[in-house]
């Protein structure tokens, strides 16, 4: 396999469970060294797509190649070169931190001596060396996540796949995980992750897809997605505790000021290329918002525009 051929390529990938369609025709390509993200609400099909890429779930139809190999017929050969960090830790709680790494390395056929050496290095990398002989049971959530990441690196994978790597972690733990992922990226390891944290996606991903209802709603770099779907800047206007109906009425008076307008229950969002100009126009129309927040548009704005604000559970 040459270096410029895609690491992952999916054509019209579909996964159905009975009548339910989890993934409804996904096309994507990930290149070597890229940090690629799947964003989307719960049930969008992110994890299912990841499981198919990780060769633990077979596509119902479509074509999926990872590292140039077919995921159905060559799953074990592909898995030998992947590092997987699942959404829920699959550590062995009855074994020590060190044993977890060594035994996992054995699954990959790595010799004991090499496994022990790598375990020591990786514990250093994720700052768990002092816990090596402790049972996994005694670790905090953040430590378990770091150990899972270390374990996923034990086979020196070409690709590391992380399913919501920082969900449930406190800010310190999240930042440590991000730092380590960033270092991996610099070493040229391809990173694929799912997340619903927009800051995580913006920090880590070169390119991402937003999934909704089992399909890809949009694809691009964080910047491209913002440019494509929302304006450069956003103004958030509040009117003295006015609510839904009153805000809808006020929104009527704002018509035409900005590119897009979105009344929410507690505030109105104006999507504008120039926030200052838009705010001046609001005042010129005789409206006096109680608070005005001008900010840059973020991936979160894109996400909510594409996947809607309805709570999905």
């Amino acid at each position: 396999m040459s270096d410029d051929s895609p690491l992952i390529s999916a054509r019209n990938l579909v996964k159905r469970y009975g009548d339910a369609t989890a993934v409804a025709g996904v096309d994507l390509t990930v290149s070597r060294g890229e940090a690629f993200g799947f964003l989307g609400p719960n049930g969008a099909g992110k994890s299912t797509t990841m499981r198919m890429i990780g060769c633990v779930s077979e596509p119902t139809s479509g074509e999926l190649k990872v590292l140039g190999m077919d995921t159905v017929t060559e799953g074990d050969r592909i898995r030998a070169r992947l590092g997987v960090v699942p959404q829920e830790d699959t550590l062995d709680t009855e074994l020590t931190v060190f044993e977890n790494l060594v035994i996992y390395a054995r699954y990959f056929g790595i010799k004991y001596g090499v496994a022990r050496e790598r375990a020591r290095e990786l514990l250093e990398f994720v700052r768990l060396s002092d816990r090596a002989d402790k049972l996994v049971e005694s670790l905090s959530g953040g430590m378990k996540r770091r150990l899972t990441i270390a374990r996923a690196l034990v086979n020196e994978p070409d690709v590391i796949m992380l399913d919501e790597p920082t969900t449930g972690l406190d800010p310190q733990a999240r930042h440590l995980v991000w730092e380590r992922l960033f270092q991996l990226k610099q070493r040229g390891i391809t990173i694929i992750l799912t997340t619903h944290y927009m800051d995580e996606a913006e920090q880590l991903c070169d390119r991402l897809v937003i999934m909704d209802g089992g399909r890809i709603a949009s694809e691009g770099s964080p910047r491209q997605l913002i440019d494509r779907h929302v304006t450069r800047e956003v103004v958030e206007l509040r009117f003295n505790g006015s609510h839904t109906d009153e805000l809808a009425e006020i929104a009527g008076k704002l018509d035409g000021i900005a590119g897009q307008l979105e009344p929410l229950p507690d505030r109105i969002l104006l999507y504008a290329d120039n926030a200052e100009v838009a705010v001046a126009e609001v005042h010129a129309r005789g409206l006096t918002p109680s608070s005005v927040l001008e900010r840059r548009a973020t991936l979160e704005d894109v996400f909510l525009r594409l996947t809607g604000r309805t709570l999905i559970e």
Binding site: Y17, G54, V56, S57, E58, G75, D76, R77, R79, A80, L82, V84, P86, E88, D89, T90, L91, D92, T93, E94, L95, E99, I103, Y104, R106, Y107, F108, G109, A152, N155
Partner: protein
């Protein structure tokens, strides 16, 4: 098969923490059996013609050997397998590695058989202490004991990965394993059963294992030509393994 050994190593690593306890209980159980049933119940048995003229303790010991190997092995395939699939993360972790479902299966079965083998060897040592080993061939009784364990291991595994509630595990213990233990010619010869029930007992793997084991320990001739007993156990075991590999693959590939 190398992959299966890698999975096996995992179960051995866990076993390392508890092995001394299992070996200890491995000694206690047979001692209690030999004292309570072999000597205790045996004291009431005067007419030993039906059991081949040996003492009652000598009659039941080889069958108990096979029965113990079977129970320990099959027991390892109940909650531990159900738990590895349902509660724990062992299988999920293995799934992300190059191990295939069949490797995970073989690794776990190997471990179960090893546990059975340890208990069989321990049982044989206890038997020697009780003076019921009269032939130099006696250590060979471990072979039919392990064949008995092998004949059921795959079926138990297949069942443990197929059920949705652990309730089923106790049901199998009570309504399959216990009757097999009681009505397989371990505690009394099959000839004591009503004529029409005897062919039913032939289905029991333990009967075949116990008869082979008794042949090795006391030289009592087997009811059938001996390879037939062995082939029956092997065929059952292979069928069980095949079923288990199908069930596990189905469970893991979703």
């Amino acid at each position: 098969m190398t992959n299966a050994f890698h999975a096996f190593e995992h179960w051995m690593l866990q076993y390392r923490r508890v092995w001394h306890g299992t070996v200890f209980s491995g000694f206690v159980m047979p001692v209690l059996f030999m004292l309570g049933i072999g000597l205790g119940v045996g004291a009431y048995i005067d007419d030993t013609a039906a059991i081949g003229g040996v003492s009652y303790a000598a009659f039941i010991a080889p069958g108990l050997l096979a029965s113990t190997a079977m129970q320990i092995t099959v027991g390892e395939m109940t909650w531990p397998v159900f738990g590895a699939l349902r509660w724990g993360a062992q299988y999920k972790a293995m799934q992300a590695s190059p191990l295939r479902p069949v490797d995970m299966l073989n690794g776990h079965l190997l471990y179960g058989l090893l546990r059975g083998l340890i208990s069989a060897v321990v049982f044989l040592i206890v038997m020697a202490f009780f003076g019921v080993v009269s032939s130099g061939w006696a250590p060979l009784a471990v072979v039919p004991a392990m064949l008995t364990a092998f004949s059921l291991i795959g079926f138990m595994y297949a069942y443990a990965v197929s059920i949705d509630s652990e309730m089923g595990l106790s049901i199998v213990q009570r309504f399959v394993i216990v009757p097999i233990t009681l009505f397989s010619g371990v505690f009394f010869p099959l000839s004591q059963l009503p004529q029409y029930l005897q062919p039913v007992a032939w289905l029991s793997p333990l009967w075949h294992g116990a008869e082979l084991s008794r042949w090795a320990v006391s030289g009592t001739a087997t009811p059938w030509f001996w390879p037939l007993h062995a082939v029956y156990l092997i065929v059952l075991g292979v069928a069980g393994w095949w079923l288990a590999s199908r069930r596990l693959a189905k469970r893991l590939t979703i």
